[in-house]
Every structure is written in C-alpha cells, then in structure tokens.
C-alpha cells in the first residue's frame, strides 16, 4: 500500500513542477515590467522600481528567479500581498475555512442527493422513477449554478424566509450556498452511478447472487455497489477541485469571505503575488486530494493497486 502511495505521489511531481512554473510565469507573462505591475496603484517612483528589481532579483536570469521562487515555496513562503502588505500565506489561512466549509457542505449535498437518485434510477431503468432521476441529472447539468443560487435565495430567503441569503453566521447560512454549488455535482453523480449500476446489473455475478436467493437489498449493497461505487470515487476526487474553484462565484453571490471571493477581488486589484498564491494553493490542494482519493481507491479496489505495482 505504501509503495502504491509513494509511486502515485512520485508520478505527481512533474505536474506539480509544471503547475509551479505556470504560476511563476503569471507575473512574467503580463505585458510590461513586473516591478511596475507589482506597484500598480501605488506611486511607482524610479527608486522604488529599482529597489523592487533588486529585491525580486529581476535582473538575474529567469531560471535563477524560478529556482528562488521554488525555494521560497518549499519554506511555505508565498510572498507578500501588495494590497494588504501581509504574507500571502496568512491571507489564505484566514479565508480558507470559509471555502472548506462550503466545499464540504456542497460535497454532502452532492452525495446525499446524487447517490440515492443514482441508485433509484439505476435499479429500474426506464421506469418513472428513472425518468425523474434522468430529468434531474440533465437539468442539474444545464442550470448554471450562479442562477440556481439566485433562485434558491428567491424561494427560501425571500418568499419562505426560512434561510438566510447572506453572511456566514452558523450552519443555516451554509445551507443555500451548499445547495447551489452541490446540486450540479449531484447531477453528475446521479448520471455516473446510474450508468455504472445498469452496467453492473447486467453482469453474471449479480445473476449468481440473485440465484442463490439473496434479497435485492443485499445484492445492491454487498455486490452491485462495491463495483459501481468506484466510478463515483473517481469523479469525487476530480469534483473536489471543482468545488474549490466553483466556490468562486458562489462565494461572491452569498458574500462569503472565502478564497474565491478574495481571488476575484485581488484580480480586480491586480495584486499578482496574492493571485499567484491562491491559484497555486488550490491547484496543489487539488493534486494532493486526488492522490489521497487514488489511495482510497486502491484500498477499495485491488485492481488499482495492481495497475500501479506493475
């Protein structure tokens, strides 16, 4: 198992380096002098520009600049925000809980809605229930989450007045953002799980399980789901990244002071070090989460371990 995890992590190294390189290049790819860009909005006196050139090592070769950027990263140093003057890593740490809460809430919604609907659809393909499940997954993929958020606010906050639309006070304030971000992902889970179950139910081992007299519930839980679930775990890993990134618009609508909302503000302010820090943080978190999901996948499915052992 450890070998599997080690190999999986090692395979991620080139991509991690590529991600760091691309994020490093953001500042260099913006047309113009990086020092001028960093001083955007402040008084860019020639002395200040020269000082910054020295400080950032902009006069050194790009390779050296990249290596020092990489070295700083390994020390957990993401540089300083040019709008708040604090370390970027602290700015991220301050806002991260709001984004994580939302991602976890949305994930719960996705699983609690997506898994039962997927099972109901997959058990009786072609039935009325299945048609409803399919309609849900088709619509769930089509309705943009930032409009869904507005519809949910209109229904639950404005008309029924049962849930708060804005703010971060307690669990109640988390319900609507989680629903608006999670329902689209629930639709994907429904679609995947339904297809996987229909596929699994056509295989001979299910027939055997039925023939030996197992109840249909038992067949579902201990036989069919074990195989069908792996399609969902794969999707989950990929979705968590989308939950972190999809939180951007959701946080803006619901006024949550999370990473996404902060990122949008900083893009407006052209605070490049902060943008780099947030983007890098989310991308690395996404890669690490996927390594962990693959590890979980390996625990659940011996075939995955074998594929990596060879």
């Amino acid at each position: 198992m450890l070998t599997f995890l080690g190999k999986r992590a090692l395979a991620a190294v080139p991509v991690l380096l590529g991600v760091v390189l691309l994020v490093f290049l953001i500042l260099r790819l913006i047309p113009g002098d990086p020092a001028q860009i960093l001083l955007f909005g402040t008084k860019a006196t020639p002395e200040r520009v020269a000082e910054l050139h020295q400080q950032l090592g902009l006069d050194r070769p790009v390779v050296v600049q990249f290596l020092s950027f990489l070295g700083d990263l390994l020390h957990g140093d993401l540089g300083y925000s040019y709008s708040s003057h604090g370390p970027v890593i602290d700015e991220i740490a301050e806002r991260l809980p709001y984004t994580v809460n939302l991602a976890v809430g949305a994930l719960l919604v996705a699983l609690l809605v997506g898994v039962p609907t997927g099972i109901l659809g997959g058990l009786k393909p072609g039935s009325v229930v299945d048609k409803a499940a399919t309609a849900f997954s088709v619509l769930g993929l089509a309705v943009p989450y930032f409009w869904l958020a507005q519809l949910l606010i209109l229904l639950f906050a404005v008309h029924l007045g049962v849930l708060p639309a804005l703010g971060v006070g307690g669990t109640a304030a988390l319900v609507l953002p989680s629903l608006s971000l999670g329902l689209g992902f629930a639709a994907i889970i429904t679609r995947m799980l339904r297809a996987a179950l229909i596929d699994v139910y056509s295989s001979p081992y299910i027939l055997v399980a039925r023939a030996k007299g197992l109840s249909s519930g038992r067949v579902l839980v201990s036989h069919a789901m074990r195989n069908a679930a792996s399609s969902v775990t794969t999707i989950l890993g990929l979705q968590i990244g989308n939950l972190l990134a999809g939180a951007v618009a959701t946080e803006v609508i619901f006024g949550r002071p999370g990473l996404g909302n902060y990122l949008v503000q900083q893009i407006g302010l052209k605070d490049v070090p902060t943008i780099q820090g947030i983007v890098l943080f989310i991308a690395v978190a996404y890669i690490v989460i996927n390594i962990l999901v693959d590890a979980a996948h390996g625990v659940l499915d011996p075939r995955v371990r074998k594929a990596w052992a060879s």
């Binding site: 991509v15 590529g18 930032f146 409009w147 507005q150 297809a195 893009i267 943008i275």
Partner: protein, 307 residues
C-alpha cells in the same frame, strides 16, 4: 425464416426514425436559438443599452421580460446578450479545437518522449480545476472580450487534446493504418488522411457538447465582471447584475438564466445526438461532462489523471 427476418428488420428502422424526431427537434431548436440571437434586431424594437421604461418594472405586454435595474428592456438585452455570449462560446470552442486536436493527434500518433512532454503539459493545464485556469489567463491578458475568448478557449484545449489523443491511439492500432504504412504512406499523410477522419467524428461530438461548457464558462467570467464592459448586454453579466435585485426584480436574471440553461441543454442533446448518429466508438464518454472526460483515462487505470 422470412418471418424471422421480417420481424427483425423493422426494429432498427423504428429506432432510427424515433431518433430522428428527437434529433430534428434538437437541431431545429438550436437553429432557432442561433437565428433569434443573430436576428435580434428584427425581433425587438428596443435598443438593448437604451433606457426605455421605468426601472425594474415587471414583465408586461410592453416589456415581455420586464425592465432591468436601469429601465432597459430585458427581452432585448437577452437577445443581444446572446450575441456576446455565443460569440465567445463559439470562438473559444473553435480555438480549443484548432489547438487541441493537432496536439492530441500528434502525441497519439507519434508517441515517445515528445508525445509524453506535450501530454504532460496538458496535464499541468488540467491541474487547475474549473474556472481557475481561465482566471489565470484573465490576470495575464486583462478583462475584455478577446481575453475572455482566449481564457475559455485555452481552458478547453487540454480536454480536446486528451480525447483526440485517446482516439488516435486506438485508431493507430487498426489494420488499415498498418496497411497504409506498408504501402509507404508518410506519417503526416497517415495522420491527416487516415487517422484524422476517424478522430473527427469524436471531435464533432465533443465540440457540440463543448459549446455548452464554453457558454457556462464565458457566462461565469462575465458574471464575475471579467468579460465585456458595461453597458453591453451579455448573459453572464446580466445575471450578475440581477443578483443584487433578486428580491425585488427576479426577472432581470430570469431571462439570461433561462437562455444559458437552454443553450447548455441543447448543446448536451446535440452532443448525444451526434454521438448516436455518427456512432462514435466512445459515444458514452464523449457526450459526458468535462469532469467525466478528465476522469475517463483514470478509469482505464493505465494513465491515472489528476496528477
């Protein structure tokens, strides 16, 4: 025996005819949507950026979808807004196709180190989930329509490259490719004349679904304020403006919201339709969402994705 044959034959026919009705509906609706957006000026007498009524008045016979926060006609803004959204969506899909397909074709056919490197670059781009890569490009290129097209297009390059890479690799194993090699065709000729036509079927399917995803992404960018500048009408931007007035005037965002939903629905249906019609070998995977597409190689266990 004849009875058996007669009994067997009508089935696929009936199947095909039923498919065509659904397909015709989807194609017809898509054409209507595009026509309505292109011919916006013929369908409404209002100028989308001109104040023509009381601010935030509810839908009425004078203003079919009501007026927005400034008193502009929402129906006109939705029709004209589609010109912006669908242009960004179409051009970015084109960009993703034109860049992604050759990368996937080359990497899938040539193989070896160079292919490995180009596909790793695609992996790096895919490591930025969702809207993040587009926001990076917005940071570099600034806001505006051109920048939005570039941002959305580049975000989908790796998706096209991956799909074409996979189908090229499968096509390469076919016997007719070996035959072409035997008769002395050059690699370039085989790629363009023998592999590309097969791969193009999947590209058509992918591109028709991709219009929906690029519509969503370009609307998201505009929603966040990184697209066309006000007062230009655009679905995402108008949805963003409607957020503030949702309690008093839900109709400001209702029409653009429905328009985005309809576009994504039609685009997904078109993808499904082409997948069935052109009988692409991996129709189920191709007519999927970008997340599912990215997951597909991982499901094959040989080249895990997400690294």
């Amino acid at each position: 025996m004849t009875a058996e044959v007669a009994g067997a034959v009508p089935r696929p026919d009936r199947h095909r005819r039923r498919l065509d009705v659904g397909g015709a509906l989807v194609c017809g609706a898509s054409i209507l949507l595009v026509l309505a957006v292109v011919g916006a000026g013929l369908l409404t007498r209002y100028n989308p950026t001109e104040i023509v009524g009381t601010a935030r008045s509810a839908p009425s016979s004078a203003h079919l979808f009501g007026t927005d926060q400034l008193g502009r006609d929402v129906f006109a803004r939705t029709l004209f807004g589609g010109q912006q959204t669908l242009t960004i969506a179409a051009l970015s899909t084109l960009l993703a196709t034109v860049v992604g397909v050759p990368i996937g074709l080359f990497a899938g056919y040539v193989g070896g180190l160079r292919a490995g490197v180009s596909m790793r670059v695609m992996d790096v781009l895919l490591a930025f989930p969702g809207i993040l890569l587009a926001l990076i490009i917005i940071t570099i290129g600034g806001t505006g329509r051109g920048s939005a097209i570039l941002a959305v297009g580049i975000s989908f390059v790796p998706v096209f490259a991956r799909v074409v890479y996979g189908s090229t690799q499968r096509a390469r194993a076919e016997e007719y490719i070996a035959a072409a090699k035997v008769v002395g065709c050059s690699s370039l000729r085989i790629m363009v004349r023998h592999v590309l036509p097969v791969v193009l079927i999947e590209v058509v399917v992918l591109a028709s679904s991709a219009i929906g995803w690029t519509t969503l992404l370009s609307a998201s960018l505009n929603f966040l304020g990184f697209g066309v500048a006000p007062p230009t009408a655009e679905w995402g931007a108008d949805l963003g403006a409607g957020t503030r007035y949702i309690a008093q005037a839900w109709w400001i965002s209702a029409a653009p919201g429905l328009a985005v939903t309809l576009t994504i629905l039609l685009s997904n249906f078109l993808g499904d339709y082409f997948a069935k019609r052109l009988s692409a070998p991996r129709a189920d995977v191709v007519a999927a969402t970008p997340t599912e597409l990215a997951a597909a190689p991982a499901a094959e266990l040989t080249t895990p994705r997400g690294t």
